[in-house]
Symmetry: C2
Subunit: 163 residues, 2 copies
């Protein structure tokens, strides 16, 4: 199996109130009320047509602050080590981030968002709708996350945000 | 706003029974029973540690057959045109695919999967767990998808698969 290069381009920038990495919530579920916006490159505005009808969207983005890859990590929610692919930690072989955020509205090339768990200035790669038809999965097993009680998850998941 | 290049590497290959594009279901929800597997590059196997505890995983991959970008498209489910970011069509500015598949088991560098809606031979970019804590969203609006009844969606979503 040969590995090969894949080249993408940033299509916009994600802006948020999170300017310090350790104060940034780790997931949208721990970022309720954290507003932000996407500034899309103007040449792609036509691609936003009809997107405002969706309440939730996927943002796929580049973890631009990551400098090294770790295959074993301790996730923010737990002090145990796990394989990087069993976590959402940023130090992945390809540092790709994925968040489902709430879409509040669109003005021109600006998408207004809630539940933003993304560092200010993050380069955006793609936007997709998140929908009841496609994205409600019958999740049966949650691996190591089932060992983390909800109160601990809420506290650790928010990191230093709101302190 | 400056656009800039982002360089990734394939970390594995997705194998499936779907060898013809127009016979490939458009989403995992229309690919129930479609088995497949990921062949991960052996150097990343350590990163799979504890992943087998999760029933569902995100695969992020490269639509390697896409040759052009379209900002307005007719999605498979409907004959109306919509902005590319309001659909999951492959001809995106960055041709990045996203599927939540069921993880049946892991042997070495092979991940056995169900609900695979991905063309055989597709280059893999990332794997993340899909979990009850992070990924059950309170989706309120489904845009144009609400205009498509479930029977039509099932028929069109499977495309020519199972005919």
């Amino acid at each position: 199996m040969n590995t090969c290069e894949i080249l993408y381009w940033t299509i916009g920038i994600i802006h948020s109130e999170h300017t310090i990495e350790e104060n940034t919530p780790i997931q949208p579920v721990y970022a309720k009320g954290c507003k932000g916006y996407v500034e899309l490159c103007p040449e792609f505005v036509e691609g936003l047509s009809d997107l405002s009808g969706f309440s939730h969207i996927y943002l796929i983005y580049h973890f631009h602050q990551v400098r090294s890859v770790q295959l074993l990590v301790k996730p923010y929610l737990q002090d145990e080590g796990h394989g990087i692919f069993a976590t959402h930690a940023p130090c992945r072989p390809n540092p790709i981030g994925l968040s489902v955020v709430e879409l509040l509205g669109i003005e021109g090339n600006t998408l207004h968002l809630d539940d933003v768990d993304i560092l200010d200035g993050t380069p955006l790669l793609d936007i997709k709708p998140c929908t009841a038809k496609f994205d409600l999965h019958d999740i049966k097993k949650n691996g190591w996350q089932d060992e983390v009680d909800e109160e601990t998850a809420q506290q650790r998941g928010k990191r230093k945000y709101h302190q």
